[in-house]
C-alpha cells in the first residue's frame, strides 16, 4: 500500500521537476529569479527604492536600453553583432529633428523618418555583411563611427530641440495608460512601447519565417544556404529590421530629452549587448529570447538604480555592475556545461 502511494507521489514530483527544471525554463527562471532577489534586496536596503516614483524611474530608464537590446537580440541570434545601434539611435533622432524642427513638418513624418532611417541604415550594414562579406564586427564598427559623424554634421554639433513640435515629448513621458485606462498606473508611454515592441518581436521571433531564419542562420548558416534559402537576403532583412527598431529607440530618447543630442550614443551598444547576454542569448548564435533580453535590461537598470538609491560611491557602482555581468554570463556557461 504505502509503497504504491510513494511511487505515485514520486512520479508526480519527477514530472513536476521536469516541467519546472527543464533547461529552458531554468534559464529564464534564473535570470528572473536574480531580478526578484535584487528587487527584494534593494527594497529592504532602502525604503526610497520601493516607491511608485522610483519604480517609474526604473521603468523609463530601461525603455531606451530595452529597445536597443531587442534590436541587438535579433542580430546576435544570427551569430552577428551590431555595434552601431547606439549611434544609429542618435542618428535617427537627429533626422527626426531635421524633419520636425528644421523643416517644420507634421509629427508623423518625423516618426516615419526616424524608423525609415533606422531601417535603411540597418539595410546598409546588412548589405556590407551579406554581400561584401565584411565581418559584422568591423562593418558595424564602421557604421557606428560613420553615423556618429554624420549625426554631428547634420545637427551642426548642436542639440536639436523639439520645442515647436507640440506633443512630441508626450511620446515618451506622458502616460496614455494612466490618463485614459488605469488612472492608478501612470506608466509612461515609453515603457508601454517597450513592452508592446517586446511582445510583437517575441511573436516575430518565434512564429514567423523571419524569426525562424534568424535562429537558423545563427545555428548553421551553411545548412540554411544548402536548404535553398536566400541567406543573404534574409540576413539583410534582419539587420534592416534591427535598424528600424533602433529608429524607435531614437524616437524614445529624443522625445524623453525633448531634443536630439548628436554627441550621445556611443557606449549604448555595449549596454544593449550586456542586457542581451545577461538574458541568456548566446553570442555564438542560435539561442535567445526577447523575454530574456527584457529581463537582462531590467537587471541592469534595477542594479544601477538600486546602487544609486543606496548612495553607493559611483566608482563602486561601476565595479559591481561589471561583476554582475560576468557572474550572469558565467552562470549561463555553467548551465550549458551541465546539460
Amino acid at each position: 500500500m504505502t509503497d504504491h502511494v510513494l511511487t505515485e507521489n514520486e512520479g508526480i514530483t519527477s514530472r513536476l521537476k521536469a516541467a519546472v527544471f527543464s533547461p529552458a525554463a531554468r534559464q529564464k527562471m534564473l535570470a528572473f529569479g536574480s531580478l526578484i532577489v535584487m528587487f527584494v534586496f534593494f527594497s529592504f536596503a532602502n525604503e526610497a527604492f520601493f516607491q511608485l516614483d522610483n519604480i517609474m524611474g526604473i521603468l523609463i530608464a530601461t525603455a531606451v536600453n530595452g529597445v536597443l537590446a531587442i534590436a541587438s537580440t535579433f542580430v546576435i541570434i544570427t551569430g552577428g553583432i551590431d555595434l552601431s545601434v547606439g549611434t544609429l539611435m542618435t542618428f535617427t533622432a537627429v533626422i527626426c529633428g531635421v524633419f520636425l524642427s528644421e523643416w517644420g513638418l507634421p509629427m508623423w513624418t518625423g516618426v516615419l523618418a526616424a524608423i525609415l532611417t533606422g531601417a535603411l541604415s540597418g539595410l546598409l550594414s546588412g548589405t556590407l555583411i551579406a554581400k561584401l562579406k565584411i565581418p559584422p564586427f568591423i562593418a558595424t564598427l564602421g557604421m557606428m563611427l560613420l553615423l556618429k559623424g554624420l549625426g554631428l554634421v547634420i545637427a551642426h554639433d548642436k542639440p536639436i530641440y523639439f520645442n515647436d513640435t507640440e506633443g512630441f515629448s508626450a511620446i515618451s513621458i506622458d502616460s496614455f495608460l494612466g490618463d485614459y485606462l488605469i488612472p492608478d498606473l501612470p506608466i509612461p508611454n515609453a515603457v508601454v512601447i517597450l513592452f508592446v515592441l517586446a511582445a510583437v518581436c517575441s511573436k516575430i521571433l518565434n512564429s514567423t519565417a523571419f524569426g525562424r531564419y534568424t535562429f537558423a542562420l545563427g545555428s548553421n548558416e551553411e545548412a540554411v544556404r544548402l536548404s535553398g534559402v536566400n541567406v543573404d537576403a534574409w540576413k539583410m532583412a534582419i539587420y534592416c529590421f534591427s535598424g528600424a527598431i533602433c529608429g524607435v529607440a531614437g524616437l524614445l530618447i529624443a522625445s524623453r530629452l525633448n531634443s536630439a543630442q548628436p554627441a550621445l550614443g556611443q557606449g549604448y551598444e555595449l549596454e544593449a549587448i550586456a542586457a542581451v547576454v545577461i538574458g541568456g542569448t548566446s553570442l555564438s548564435g542560435g539561442v535567445g529570447t526577447i523575454l530574456g533580453t527584457i529581463i537582462g535590461a531590467f537587471i541592469i537598470s534595477v542594479l544601477t538604480n538600486g546602487l544609486r538609491i543606496m548612495s553607493v560611491e559611483q566608482d563602486w557602482q561601476t565595479v559591481v555592475t561589471g561583476f554582475i555581468i560576468i557572474a550572469a554570463v558565467y552562470a549561463d556557461i555553467l548551465r550549458r556545461k551541465k546539460q
Binding site: M38, L264, M310, Y330
Partner: protein, 313 residues
C-alpha cells in the same frame, strides 16, 4: 545554484558598500547631480561641496554620468535622486532644456534647485553658482594676444561642441579676438572630447598643417594637457593657454611650456551650491546668479594664496 551563490556574494559586496549610508534619513539630504565625476575639476567641486556640507551639518551625495554626452543617464540619476526625497537639489545640467520636466517636478514638490557650473534655461533654480565662461575665455584671448604680439595665427582645441561651457569658452575666445585683436587669425577650431590623447593627436595635426602657428588655447583641462603633449611630441615651441588646473598644467606653467591658464573656482562652486541650498531652505532670498569667479594665473601668481586656494591637483 551557482548563480544564486554568486548573487548573494554580489549583494553582500553592495551591502558592505551601502549600509554605511543607510539609516541617516533624518538629516537634511541634498544630492548633487553633476556633469561628470572622473575629472579633477569635478572632484574639486565635490571636495568644496563636501566641506561646506560638513560645516552646515547636511548630508550630500555627488554623482554624474561617465561622459558628458550621456544626457539621458543624467536624467536617470536625477530621477533616482528625487526618489530619495531630498530637501534640496544641486544640478549641473548637461543639456539645459532636457531636464526641465524633471525640475518642474522638483518645483512642485517644493524642493529648491541650485544650478551649478552651467545654467538651466528656466526660472526654476533659485540660483546658479557658475563661472562667467564667456568673460573668462575673453580674458584668455587678451592674454594670448599680449603674449604673441597681437598678430599671427592661433588655434583652439575645445572639449566639445554641444555643451554650454564648450560653446561659451569657444565663442568667448573667438569673439574677443575678432573684436579686439583683428590681426590675429584663428586658423583652426577642433574638438577632442576633453580626451587627452585625442587632443594630443588633434594638436599635432594642427601644428603639422600650420607651421607658422603661434599659440593654442585649450578650453578645458583635458584639452589643455592634450595641447601640451602635442606640442612636446611635435617639438614645437608655441604659446599655450589652458583652462582649469590639475597637477600637469601646474607643472607645465612652472617649467614654462604653458604660458598660463584660466582657473575657475571649482571648490567655490561646490561650496556655493551647498551653502545656497542651505540658505534656500532657511527661506533666504538668493541672487539669480552667484558668480564664483575666475582668475588668470601664470608663473608669477601661481603661489599667490588667493589663487593657490582655488587650484586643485
Amino acid at each position: 545554484m551557482f548563480s544564486k551563490k554568486m548573487f548573494t556574494a554580489a549583494l553582500g559586496v553592495t551591502a558592505l558598500l551601502g549600509f554605511s549610508n543607510i539609516g541617516q534619513a533624518k538629516e537634511i539630504y541634498i544630492p548633487l547631480i553633476s556633469k561628470g565625476f572622473q575629472h579633477q575639476f569635478w572632484q574639486a567641486v565635490k571636495a568644496g561641496a563636501e566641506s561646506a556640507a560638513k560645516k552646515a551639518k547636511v548630508k550630500i551625495t555627488f554623482e554624474g554620468p561617465e561622459t558628458e554626452a550621456m544626457v539621458d543617464k543624467q536624467m536617470d540619476m536625477l530621477t533616482a535622486a528625487m526618489a530619495k526625497k531630498p530637501r534640496a537639489l544641486g544640478f549641473a545640467a548637461l543639456d539645459s532644456k532636457a531636464a526641465i520636466p524633471l525640475l518642474k517636478k522638483a518645483q512642485k514638490a517644493k524642493i529648491p534647485v541650485i544650478a551649478f557650473d552651467s545654467g538651466v534655461d528656466s526660472d526654476i533654480p533659485v540660483t546658479t553658482c557658475t563661472t562667467d565662461n564667456i568673460a573668462a575665455a575673453g580674458l584668455a584671448a587678451d592674454k594670448m594676444a599680449g603674449l604673441i604680439g597681437d598678430e599671427g595665427e592661433v588655434a583652439v582645441v575645445v572639449h566639445d561642441q554641444t555643451s554650454r561651457t564648450g560653446i561659451d569658452r569657444r565663442d568667448g575666445f573667438l569673439n574677443q579676438m575678432k573684436a579686439k585683436h583683428p590681426k590675429i587669425n584663428i586658423v583652426s577650431v577642433q574638438y577632442g572630447g576633453g580626451d587627452q590623447l585625442k587632443s594630443t593627436e588633434i594638436t599635432k595635426a594642427i601644428l603639422q598643417a600650420n607651421p607658422n602657428l603661434k599659440g593654442i588655447f585649450g578650453a578645458n583641462e583635458g584639452s589643455a594637457i592634450g595641447v601640451l603633449n602635442g606640442a612636446k611630441e611635435a617639438k614645437k615651441k608655441i604659446v599655450v593657454i589652458g583652462y582649469d588646473s590639475g597637477k600637469t598644467q601646474k607643472a607645465a606653467i612652472m617649467d614654462g611650456s604653458e604660458a598660463g591658464a584660466i582657473t575657475q573656482n571649482p571648490v567655490g562652486i561646490g561650496e556655493c551650491t551647498v551653502n545656497s541650498a542651505v540658505k534656500a531652505l532657511k527661506g533666504e532670498k538668493l541672487p539669480k546668479i552667484t558668480d564664483t569667479g575666475f582668475y588668470y594665473y601664470d608663473k608669477t601668481n601661481i603661489a599667490d594664496p588667493k589663487v593657490a586656494a582655488v587650484l586643485y591637483d
